[in-house]
Symmetry: C2
Subunit: 206 residues, 2 copies
Amino acid sequence: MNYDNFPSKLLENAVAEFSKLPGIGRKTALRLVLHLLNQNKDEVRKFGNTIIQLRDEVKHCKSCFNISDTDICDICANPKRDKSTICVVESIRDVMSIERTQQYNGIYHVLGGIISPMDGIGPSDLRIQPLIEKAEHEDLTEIILALSTTMEGDTTNFYLYKKLKPHEVPVTTIARGISIGDELEYTDEITLGRSLLNRMPFDKSL
Amino acid sequence: MNYDNFPSKLLENAVAEFSKLPGIGRKTALRLVLHLLNQNKDEVRKFGNTIIQLRDEVKHCKSCFNISDTDICDICANPKRDKSTICVVESIRDVMSIERTQQYNGIYHVLGGIISPMDGIGPSDLRIQPLIEKAEHEDLTEIILALSTTMEGDTTNFYLYKKLKPHEVPVTTIARGISIGDELEYTDEITLGRSLLNRMPFDKSL
């Protein structure tokens, strides 16, 4: 008998599939599978088929590479959005986060990751070339880099900046500083130092 | 646009399905779905189909109600296991936990839950009647109640004890006491009190 004493091969397979998901260990996987076993067959079939259908039928917007049910996503197709401002993000999760702020009226460009030599992700694995082409051929007023404030994010920012510079598009990056609600005492010194260096006129900060 | 700004209905459906799982919120669901989107289609199809297959084809052992690929599970079918000792547990997860201890050589009876009026689970929702019948018709030497040490577990223990008593089978319950590795200082007083009351000869405790 194996280490986990699975009473059924079917059960073991299902647990193995769930365990492949990020952040789901064997114990959680077993709990989820046993939960599904207690649902009726139609529910479980719907669960499985919804996921298969998503993977089979999902499209990416041909312009910004956001996930979309149509060839061009709702954001790119919206005539009210400013097409001359492009916000560069890592993933569609970031698009959703920025959309929730309701502070941005331009369009996006989803890179599909960030440069991370540790994980074997280089510039050619990302959608950088189409961005350069947009900078070259379209009449852009601004490219906003909105990547994670990690070493990988900074590396990618720097790489993109170098590639975009020859095309004379203003390239900006989102502000780094103290999070709203944070106390200075508990802020790390790098963030605090950066927020001092990048201080701004009080009447513009409201 | 809805609160979560899903760029795709397919994506939204898949996230909704994952969110139904216990302990999985919208954010985690989105992370899992985006992970699956990055896998190849065959992998995702395998994921979905494995779960559907499990639910469609899973069997329960006709004797102990453990999950099984066959009519009688491996444990009940094992000639080396003592069929006169039945360990009553809540779910197949508990069977797996006890099997891992390698301390038990009897068979099991899986109740399928515990009595929990708060969740609307009464005795008739559990596999109690088949257990009573075993006590009545089979030649048993012991029934071990191995339920959670919660109020619901205790209620179920008490209910089972009352139902089993007329059949003159010795009914025991697993020991409650200080966990191995615990310090007395941090043990709650009820557990500590019980473990004092139920103290045992030192030479038997090894």
